[in-house]
């Protein structure tokens, strides 16, 4: 199948997810689709599969313009996909999930034997260990991912879109998947492959299209002519100049100390110390358990063992409310739409949420002018671009939204601020600005735990960098501000663990 998207655009309230994006997919190729988080990859996939309808642009299948009203139309046109979200029915058997589109029947009733026989055929291509009769909810995450891939394969379409299919499966399964994809390609299938892992893309893709901030940074360039360095610069955008900062001297008094912490999420024996005014980096790949550690600190995930000490005193924090009110800890979530902001409320309310208690006077009442006075300085300081503080946050751009979610915690005047992926999906100017800001608040004495998977950001900001892998801390790297040295040191820690692991696991 030959598939082409020409100048597709898609806007959501407050964000232009895609802006004139094109992609051309030929029969018999594996086409990588790359970009940072929030670059628009998933939106593009959802347009091709009929889940979203583009605001503008054309979609051509074998040269004919088509318009998908629903995923049904896309399937009928011969396009199947593995989406990023879990798209299985938990209470259904593996077999039924794989064949959900076209459950085989016999005299009007489901033919269970046929279901399992058919499903087995596709599942065996990837993993013989999964029982087609098991309920999906009893499977592990990796097994679910395999089932999803088998489901997409079972449609035997000539066009296959895979949005991070390898995110949670093992090396071994990835190898099996790749040889399968190559075979399908050689049989003439057109495959889109989305992954964050550069090694995988270089291993399997024939051409690559890169998105950056919802626009094309590259369209269908051959992988043979692509270098790692160039691909990264296409994704990140080289105009990004990270300001060199001198190394800082940090005070020695420890504000937050974790010793041997275990959590319900599965962290084991986590120990570290955060000092006053320090920016402590926490680096790790996706799925390493960084955000979850932050959540455990603020009480959102139960701490099951070890001790957390604040200024030397052992504490037990049960929720964010206690973290803020009793211990002056703030947490800027990476998921600003779900956790960071109340999109339907105004800028004023979103910022003031952390300080209402403080603003309230007699009878718990808040004087509106006092609230505005408390909020305005942060709107100005962060240069949040809005006609008024009464603007609904949902109507702001992504960058301005992120500024609001930061402003809220600046207003709260906390002693410890955990910042989770502060600049994902943010334009470059805002990013530089936020970096400056994080530096400033640390200088002013706030201790910052910075979580980021953006290595240059980490190197530019952190004083020390903790490396997390597989829910454990696997090392600490002093940040000498020399990008090559530091990033190599970090990756070495991660890979050292990776290499030990297969031996231990199997």
């Amino acid at each position: 199948m030959h598939l082409a998207i020409e100048s597709a655009s898609k806007a959501f309230p407050g964000v232009q997810a895609l802006d004139n994006v094109s992609l051309e997919l030929r029969p018999g190729e594996i086409h990588a689709l790359m970009g940072e988080n929030g670059a628009g990859k998933s939106t593009l996939i959802k347009i091709i599969t009929g889940l979203y309808r583009p605001d503008g642009g054309r979609l051509l299948v074998d040269g004919r313009e088509v318009s998908f009203q629903s995923p049904r139309d896309a399937i009928a046109a011969g396009i199947s996909a593995v989406h990023q979200e879990r798209n299985l029915i938990p209470r259904f058997s593996v077999g039924e999930n794989i064949l959900l589109e076209r459950l085989p029947t016999h005299r009007g009733l489901l033919d269970r034997e046929a279901i399992h026989r058919e499903a087995r055929r596709y599942l065996d291509l990837l993993d013989r260990g999964i029982d087609t009769r098991a309920e999906v909810r009893t499977l592990s995450v990796a097994q679910m991912q395999i089932v999803e891939i088998a489901k997409a394969l079972s449609l035997e379409t000539k066009c296959l879109l895979m949005d991070e299919p390898t995110a949670s499966i093992t090396e071994h399964e990835t190898v099996a998947l790749f040889s399968l994809l190559r075979r399908l390609r050689d049989e003439g299938a057109a495959i889109v492959f989305v992954s964050h892992k550069l090694e995988e893309v270089f291993a399997i893709a024939d051409r690559v299209t890169v998105l950056r901030d919802g626009r094309n940074a590259a369209i269908g360039e051959p992988m043979s002519a692509m270098t790692r360095q160039r691909l990264i610069s296409l994704m990140v955008g080289r105009e990004e100049r990270i300001v060199e900062r001198p190394q800082r001297t940090v005070e020695t008094d420890v504000v937050l100390e974790a010793s041997g912490i275990n959590t319900a999420f599965g962290h084991r024996d986590i120990s570290f110390a955060l000092r006053r005014g320090e920016i402590l980096g926490l680096y790790g790949l996706v799925g390493a358990g960084r955000s979850e550690l932050a959540r455990a600190i603020v009480g959102d995930i139960p701490v099951t063992g070890g001790a957390l000490r604040l200024k030397g005193k052992a504490v037990r924090i049960r929720d964010m409310h206690e973290a803020l009110d009793h211990h002056r800890i703030g947490y800027i979530s990476e998921d600003r739409k779900q956790e960071g902001l109340i999109l339907a409320h105004s800028i004023r309310e979103n910022i003031a949420v952390t300080i209402w208690k403080r603003l309230a006077g007699m009878l718990g009442l808040i004087a509106p002018p006092a609230e505005a006075r408390a909020v305005l300085p942060y709107v100005e300081r962060l240069e949040i671009r809005t006609p008024s503080i009464e603007q609904t946050v949902g109507n702001l751009s992504g960058g301005n939204q992120q500024k609001v979610s930061v402003a809220k915690w600046l207003a709260a005047n906390v002693e410890i601020l955990i910042i989770d992926e502060p600049t994902v999906g943010i334009d470059i100017k805002t990013k530089a600005y936020l970096h400056e800001l994080i530096h400033e608040i640390a200088e002013a004495g706030t201790s910052v735990l910075l979580i980021s998977s953006d290595m240059p950001e980490m190197v530019a900001l952190a004083d020390r960098i903790l490396v997390m892998h597989g829910k454990r801390l696997v090392g600490e790297v002093a940040n000498g501000r020399r990008y090559e040295t530091v990033s190599r040191a970090i990756m070495n820690r991660i890979h050292a663990v990776e290499e030990e692991r297969p031996a231990a696991a199997e």
Partner: protein, 318 residues
């Protein structure tokens, strides 16, 4: 021992079955009247309408919706059926399918309004419930239709020893519904939409169409319950359905239905209705205040919800 007990608790209807056996044993021991043919007949008869009412709610819960209007819809269908037979002289064989069909259409209306407007099904069915009741009262001015065809009344009251003929209907419906949900494509699609709407949609299942189907089915089942109620009472009372709301949720939820959709149990719902019938019967036999039924039903729902929760936490599959 402990682990066997635990495992039994994991099977959703095990607790219900145990409660039913225990309850029946206690009642048989305490009251000689319990195991008499007539008492069994009375109990089974009260079970018939209740089961269909439970099913009417169960199919909306399956798709992740709810239907506040089951009772109002039932009441409307009951008086329309009565009116057709008494005032228009329709034979039973015409009036009954027509009445159930009207129930289905009214349910479909709920579904269409919910899907097309995108408004919470709760508010839509709350509003249509009021409208259905209004039409019911407007037509009848609260006066029942008494003159029902003898064949229908006979069906509603005759019995074979302790077995009321009326019971045939819910047994057939339960079997068909079980088959529909477990073994047919639309039935599986219905549960798929309830279990993970987005996944179902991505698999090319029409979420809107299935939601409307569930509402229509709910209406038809409520209509069938109403017809049975007319047969059982021997008259078409406008008050039929007025007390169905709680029951309609109690049965599927005690039977283990997931409130979030995607999981219901025909067997569980049936056992739940048996348990409720048993409790009501026990209270009658013990000459307890009838008000206790209300209290106990509320307590049972809370207990069932708590048990489901506990089970979800135990298995780590919340």
């Amino acid at each position: 021992m402990n682990t066997i007990f635990r495992r039994l608790l994991m099977v959703e209807w095990s607790g219900l079955l145990a409660a039913i056996i225990l309850g029946a044993a206690v009642l048989a021991w305490l009251s000689p009247a319990f195991l008499t043919e007539f008492n069994i007949y009375v109990m089974l008869r009260s079970f018939c309408v209740a089961l269909l009412v439970g099913f009417a709610q169960m199919v909306t819960l399956a798709v992740g919706q709810l239907n506040i209007s089951v009772g109002a819809l039932g009441g409307l269908v009951a008086v329309l059926a009565g009116g057709m037979m008494e005032k228009l002289g329709f034979p039973v064989a015409v009036a009954v399918p027509l009445a159930i069909g009207i129930g289905g259409l009214a349910g479909l209306l709920n579904g269409v309004l919910t899907v097309r407007t995108g408004i919470n099904g709760f508010i839509i069915t709350l509003a249509t419930a009021s409208a259905f009741t209004g039409i019911n009262l407007g037509i009848t001015e609260s006066i029942p239709f008494y003159d029902m065809p003898p064949s229908l009344v006979a069906f509603g009251s005759n019995r074979f020893f302790g077995f009321p003929y009326l019971l045939i209907a819910p047994i057939v419906v339960a079997a068909l519904l079980g088959l529909f949900l477990a073994r047919t494509v639309p039935g599986r699609h219905l549960l798929a939409v309830g279990g993970n709407p987005q996944a179902a949609e991505l698999s090319g299942i029409s979420r809107d169409g299935i939601t409307m189907l569930a509402h229509a089915l709910s209406g038809a089942l409520a209509g069938a319950a109403a017809v049975l109620a007319v047969a059982q009472l021997g008259s078409a009372q406008p008050t039929i359905g007025a007390d169905w709301l709680l029951l309609s949720f109690a049965a599927p939820i005690i039977g283990g239905a997931a409130l979030t959709g995607g999981h219901v149990s025909v067997l569980g719902t049936t056992l739940a209705v048996v348990l409720i019938a048993l409790i009501e019967n026990g209270m009658v036999l013990a000459k307890v205040d009838p008000y206790w039924v209300q209290f106990v039903l509320g307590a049972l729902i809370l207990a069932a919800v708590w048990l489901n929760r506990w089970r979800a936490v135990r298995t780590g599959m919340g």
